[in-house]
Amino acid sequence: MKAKRDIKYNVPFCFLFLGGFPMCRKLLLAFLFVFFLFSPGYAAEERYSIPIDNCPILGPENAQITIIEFLDFQ
């Protein structure tokens, strides 16, 4: 008896399979359209959250822009 493959390995094949059905093809296209429309947002530059407790600050505490510099003086 043939063992069933884990469903996760069948996902890509499902997309190919579903593309054969007109309605599913439309849904697939709609999904891809929305994905690529919003993917630049997800691909946006990563923002790091860095703790600054008790660090001396130059400038106003509530400034709109915070610049944190990791430096070596030498």
Binding site: Y48, C55, P56, I57, L58, F73
Partner: protein
């Protein structure tokens, strides 16, 4: 910062390179001066005079800033702020930073020294972004 009055704040994190002679001393010097209220002044002097950051030079800068020389020298020699410096180093290592300076502008990473216009562009973008 002069071009954007009141809109930018700057915070420093020490990331002394372990194989440079004076990096840790300079970091300690900054914090020791900070204890006496001259953090940013010491920063400016060291930036201007780098790489002249040996012990005697640092003490001369402290004198120039009219710091308590005895206290400053004691702090320097005992590396009083070793733990704080190590915290910054550990953070940098945890973030996988490999170059100094590395900047984070509202969390956006900028590696290395860049032309002013490069920073200005990011600042303008962030100011527009924050206004939304």
């Amino acid at each position: 910062m002069a071009e954007y009055p009141g809109k930018i704040r700057l915070i420093l994190k020490n990331y002394p390179y372990r194989y440079r002679d004076y990096s840790h001393l300079a970091a300690e010097s900054l914090l020791a001066a900070g204890d006496q209220g001259k953090y940013w002044e010491m920063h400016d002097i060291m930036i201007t005079n780098s790489p002249k950051l040996d012990r005697e030079s640092l003490i001369s800068y402290a004198e120039e800033l009219k710091l308590d020389k005895k206290q400053f020298t004691s702090d320097l020699d005992s590396m009083k702020h070793r733990k704080l410096i190590q915290q910054d180093e550990d953070l940098a290592v945890a973030m996988d930073l490999y170059n100094t300076p590395t900047f984070f502008i509202n969390g956006r990473r900028v590696i290395g020294n860049r032309p002013y216009e490069y920073f200005k562009k990011i600042i303008e973008e962030e100011l527009a972004y924050v206004k939304k």
